[in-house]
């Protein structure tokens, strides 16, 4: 086994990160307080210099002391300046792979790659912050080969028919210009500029009002309907273009592809990122629609993985977030033949609607109590407090009605599918053998009304708890027994 150091550019990237973090302090201490002689500033300057020196030394030492190796089965990591540690991470523990090529990576023709395991904490991933393209390729291949070996069991009919050696990569989706226009519309990014423009416009208006007497003709020009309409149109066009560009930069070069065993998602124009996951490691699927997306018939499909998926903004497990609903569903079936999306979903029974409506409105009670107590201090109008209280109750009731309306579920032979939401809607689909545990709970109210809450847990980061309140107790029992029969499709090593 040959241990290697990480790429030397890692130091440069770490340094860049450090500089970015302390830049504000540095500017404050050395530029804004340039001539200052105060003790505080002087202490700050020395502390900053000492900190920078220490960081630089520790970065160098860290780089010299950490090494890695990758053999046929595992990553071996050595590290630590004072306390030596060694870690071995087997490839089969890798849940998903993320490749990120930021703009600065591109400058040096580098990339970064991280292998996420199902563990939590610092040891959850094996990360290479800066590697050459070839090395990243080599590491990914190693993990990939280890992953495919254990799929030898004839999984689905499709798999046993096709030849293993031939890896067919099918591209399922790349956004067209129309998709991007729709996407930029959905994200409402264009509104931002309109708001700014409007406030700017009113300011200008106010400014010219003052000088009306002198420059009356400017005002007459600015306030004339045509000019305003013209300026508004131009602004709207500009903001659309900006929205479009912003959307294009993040979602423009999207590609969703898959082969026999894996799913690949690549995105980004300036900062590129790529994500790949073994199909058998997909723990579940989430299809979510915000209110806006529902109006436009778009949906976001997310793959649930036991490995970490990164923070929200650079999360890459999402299949294109602005898919037409129908396409989203058909794509799931194309890519994951092991998953079935059922289109026939059951509503909750009438009585659960009644139960949900009459359940106490704690929030409303607290607000109303506060309003009643402070009614004389807060409002000049005597009737306002109970109007607010009643409208709040109405809104809460409407929300519950909408929530009931959007809730539906289906339990089929191997799958469970749950839809919930108030304005938006989220559908969660998982397989019986991927569920880690289930529960059926009944409060006293539910026992009286013959209802129950079902719950299930899936591996994810963080662990995913899915609940569906107020199904009939018969259905809950069916769900419980359904899960008890999971042995039907679970294979044991």
């Amino acid at each position: 086994m040959k241990f290697k150091r990480y790429h030397p550019l890692t130091i440069l990237f770490d340094l860049y990160g450090f500089v970015k973090n302390v830049a504000i302090f540095a500017v404050m201490l050395f530029v804004f307080n340039y001539g200052s002689d105060s003790t505080l500033v002087r202490i700050g300057r020395w502390a900053l210099l000492a900190g920078a020196l220490l960081t630089l030394i520790s970065m160098l030492m860290k780089w010299f002391s950490t090494r890695y190796a990758a053999d046929g089965q595992a990553f071996h990591l050595q590290g630590g300046i004072f306390q030596k540690t060694e870690r071995t991470i087997y490839y089969e523990k890798v849940q998903n792979v993320q490749r990120r090529t930021s703009f600065s990576h591109k400058l040096f023709r580098m990339t970064s790659v991280s292998f996420q395991t199902g563990a939590t904490g610092v040891d959850a991933k094996v990360e290479f912050k800066v590697v050459t393209q070839q090395e990243a390729e080599r590491l990914e291949m190693l993990v990939k080969e280890a992953g495919t070996e254990s799929v030898e069991i004839p999984d689905t009919a499709a798999e046993s028919e096709t030849d293993k050696s031939e890896v067919k990569r099918v591209i399922h989706f790349t956004p067209t210009r129309r998709d991007i226009v729709k996407a930029s519309f959905t994200s409402l990014s264009f509104l931002f500029l309109i708001v700014i423009a409007a406030s700017l416009f009113s300011k200008i208006n106010a400014l010219f009002d003052v000088e009306e007497a002198v420059e009356g003709w400017v005002v007459s020009l600015l306030t004339s309907g045509w000019v305003i309409a013209g300026i508004a149109t131009v602004l709207i066009i500009i903001s659309f273009v900006i929205g479009y560009i912003r959307t294009f930069v993040t979602y423009g070069k999207y590609e969703i592809a898959s082969d026999e065993t894996r799913i690949y998602i690549a995105k980004g124009v300036l900062d590129e990122s790529a994500f790949s996951i073994l199909k058998k490691r997909v723990q579940g699927i989430e299809i979510s629609q915000s209110f806006m997306k529902r109006l436009l018939g778009l949906a976001e499909v997310k793959l649930i993985s036991a490995g970490s998926l990164g923070s929200d903004d650079d999360e890459v497990s999402t299949l294109y977030p602005f898919l037409p609903v129908k396409r989203a569903y058909s794509m799931i079936e194309e890519m994951l033949p092991n998953y079935e999306v059922s289109s026939e979903m059951k509503r909750l029974p009438r009585k659960s609607f009644v139960v949900r409506i009459v359940k106490p409105y704690w929030f409303w009670l607290i607000v109303t109590a506060a309003l009643t107590y402070f009614r004389n201090d807060l409002f000049s109008k005597p009737n306002l407090w109970w109007i607010i209280s009643i409208s709040l109750l109405a809104v809460l009731m409407l929300a519950r009605i909408a929530n009931y309306w959007n809730t539906s579920y289906a339990i089929t032979a191997r799958f469970i599918q749950v839809s919930e939401g108030t304005l938006g809607k989220t559908t969660y689909l998982t397989r019986r053998d991927k569920i880690v545990e289930v529960s059926v709970t009944r409060t006293k109210l539910q026992q009286w009304t013959g209802l129950a809450t079902i719950g299930l847990v899936n591996r994810a980061q963080p662990v995913r708890h899915e609940r569906l309140p107020d199904v009939t107790v018969e259905e809950a029992t069916r769900f419980y027994r359904w899960y008890a029969l999971r042995g039907e499709e679970v294979r044991v090593e």
């Binding site: 254990s150 069991i153 999984d155 073994l278 058998k280 490691r281 092991n338 053998d433 880690v436 545990e437 289930v438 529960s439 059926v440 709970t441 009944r442 409060t443 006293k444 026992q447 847990v457 899936n458 591996r459 662990v463 708890h465 107790v473 018969e474 809950a476 029992t477 419980y480 027994r481 899960y483 008890a484 999971r486 042995g487 499709e489 679970v490 294979r491 044991v492 090593e493």
Partner: protein, 165 residues
Amino acid sequence: MYAPIEEPSKRLSKEIIPAMRWGALISVAIEVVITGILYGVSIYFAWPDWVNWILLIVAAIIVAGAIWSIGLRPFFVFKNTRYEVSEEFLQLKSGAFHEVHELVPMAKIQAVSTHQGPILRRFNLYSIAIETMGSTHGIAGLPKQVAIDVRDRIAHLAKIQEVDE
């Protein structure tokens, strides 16, 4: 025809009732002592009236809590808790006011352990904690030999690994 979920067959040790009573008694005693001290201090330093009122309310809550946690809860817990360990599943049931059925596949269990605090030791009982990938489950009070058997059985059955598909 609807048939409710089959209850798991095994029960807790009956000794759990006095054990829980003792535990609850001790924590109520601590609460009473703290409230008492606060009341004494309040009287001594002549704190405003509303402090005493709050302490009185706290005292009432403690009394109500004591009736529940010493008098009633241990019996209900004993009466309503069931568990069962089969080849494939760990099955748990608890609660009457808030009834909970849980079903955990053996292969998804990560760790089992037995625990014994000073009170449980006095009654020669053990509690079991079962960790899965998602959460921790507990069985409150079992006689020593039963607890160790259950632990070992779960540990043995949990060794089985499922194949990802």
